[in-house]
Symmetry: C2
Subunit: 336 residues, 2 copies
């Protein structure tokens, strides 16, 4: 009995080597929040599902052909940054000053290399700027006009501010400002709308056939944000984290809570130090930690074995997963 | 035998409640780096020791009188921000554009509240701006001109840019720029000087009699920094972290590595999830993780029981510790 117990208690931890059969996979999100069937027309719903499928297939094809998780994440996010549906790139929300301030970050799991930019105004694909910071600057994080200048020096696509102004976001800013000015009179429906304007980040995590994990996140931040606010999306450890020993995570939600909870790194730490699965770790952090503090949002993640997590404590999160076999799962509501 | 083993394996984890006897303590740093006896005159050395002692006594008196760890951290950092010796506030280094861009962050361990500012140019005490962001804005992190405007709206001390220009930092920028322009011809002594210009952040962590932990960090960043670079100091989880269940941490060093390693949160996670002591956790992160990647620097930390860590993988770190009894320990070199 004694030897049995000792054998049991001395068993080796799960081997953190390559899985025997190399595999790959990709997961994306297009923001979490108050996404309810009641507020969605069939047309809108199918428009979201279409872009999510289109985006993830781009990354999946790269991975299937032996391409890197870095390229898969970058190119997949480009599709979402180019769509006016998501709060990133083209569809970014407006600040209180009616400007655009884009944040993005990228992390590679092999050497823990990372790059991030915050508050840029002229870059068509912020995720690519984050990657260039990682690859071609001695820094991890650049901000404001400096980050715009660096991106321009790297030959990235630069656009005029007008590129980002969409009618939907101009109207959203107006509604939020009006609600703020009369505050207490806001109807609960309007309050839900306002709350929803906090969300909409896009993100992608991928595992490639070489066992490399990568994570990227891109956002316009919060509608009506002030004082050059920085959310969790460009913060390595909060909105984005990747480590080949554990997982790749991209977060979306009420950024302030995600920074304070160091969400992406905490999921990795729970896996590395406590042996939790990616699903258990993501569940703990989103529900017990972020939720316990009163915050909301979600994450997508993939671990070094290809297991995935799509966890949220909001009514919905635009998301999709595609595995090595090619099974595609596109979801919007929590309960589907 | 079986019941003995079961009893043993089922024992409760260390109780994370208040220690039986309330205690308090405070630890500070004034930057880690190539701090060598050979390069230090007795006068310089004693000037550093004097300000470190002066600063920590301010916080210690607050804690001794039942004041909060938040106030102790803020007021202690003010002393270092007011000194031209440290790379924070008054003594901040210059950017490549010969401007000042100050970063700071603060975190409170009770509710995991946090505030941070990056790239501000007019605030005399950046740590107070970080605290105001936490207390009086809906955000955690503000940057650039927006953060300056917010600080001004809070009635904080605003100074003219000239306030920050010290001869020492103007000369340092010249030397770094000259060395950069001829690169390979740089002597090894000069290379050491250049390398040292990466460092000099100040920070403070404290435990008060109510069991609340707090951590703060303030810096001018890297000499000759470009593109509105953001280092680890204003990043919650990287340069600063506090959690009453574990510890309060403030980091200093080569910021890029500290961001990628999510240093401050990783130390807390190793304590929370693996049961490491604060010293073991700080040692692991600074030596194995940051050091393993080729980065250098150090951290100071204090846990919920008053245990402290002052860990570095550089030849020196300006630092001091003062315990509840009033024992004061001021150190500069690693080997003292």
């Amino acid at each position: 009995m004694l030897s049995l117990l000792l054998t049991f208690s001395c068993q080796q931890p799960v081997k953190k080597e390559q899985p025997q059969e190399p595999t790959f996979g990709i997961v994306i999100h297009g923001g979490a929040g108050t996404i309810l069937r009641a507020n969605m027309t069939p047309e809108t719903e199918s428009a979201y599902r279409k872009v999510l499928a289109e985006a993830i297939k781009v990354g999946h094809a790269i991975l299937k052909n032996g391409g890197s998780s870095q390229e898969a994440v970058e190119k997949t996010i480009h599709v979402m940054e180019d769509s006016p549906l998501f709060n990133a790139g083209k569809g970014a929300v407006l600040t209180a000053d009616e400007t655009i301030e884009l944040d993005a970050s990228f992390m590679h799991g092999a050497q823990l290399d990372a790059g991030a930019i915050s508050g840029v105004r002229t870059i068509k694909h912020p995720i690519s700027a984050a990657i260039k910071v990682m690859e071609n600057s001695p820094h991890v994080m650049l901000s404001g006009a400096g980050a715009d200048a660096f991106a321009a020096s790297q030959g990235l696509d630069i656009v005029e501010p007008e590129y980002f102004y969409t009618e939907r976001r101009i109207n959203a800013l107006k509604r939020v400002k009006e609600a703020e000015s009369k505050e207490k009179e806001t109807s609960s429906l309007e309050a839900e709308f306002i709350k929803h304007q906090r969300y909409g980040t896009v993100g992608c995590v991928a595992l490639d056939l070489k066992g490399n994990l990568a994570a990227g996140t891109s956002t316009g931040g919060m509608t009506n944000k002030k004082w050059n606010r920085i959310g969790d999306a460009p913060i390595i450890g909060a909105g984005t984290y990747a480590n080949n020993a554990t997982c790749a995570i991209s977060a979306t939600g009420w950024g302030e809570f995600f920074i304070r909870s160091v969400v992406a790194h905490d999921i990795s730490a729970l896996m590395e130090y406590k042996g939790l699965s990616i699903q258990e770790a993501a569940h703990t952090v989103i529900h017990d930690k972020v939720g316990g503090m009163g915050g909301d949002g979600g994450v997508v993640g993939i671990d070094w074995k290809g297991n995935v997590a799509m966890e949220m404590n909001t009514p919905g999160m635009y998301r999709a997963h595609m595995d090595a076999v090619g099974n595609l799962n596109v979801k919007i509501y929590k309960d589907e």
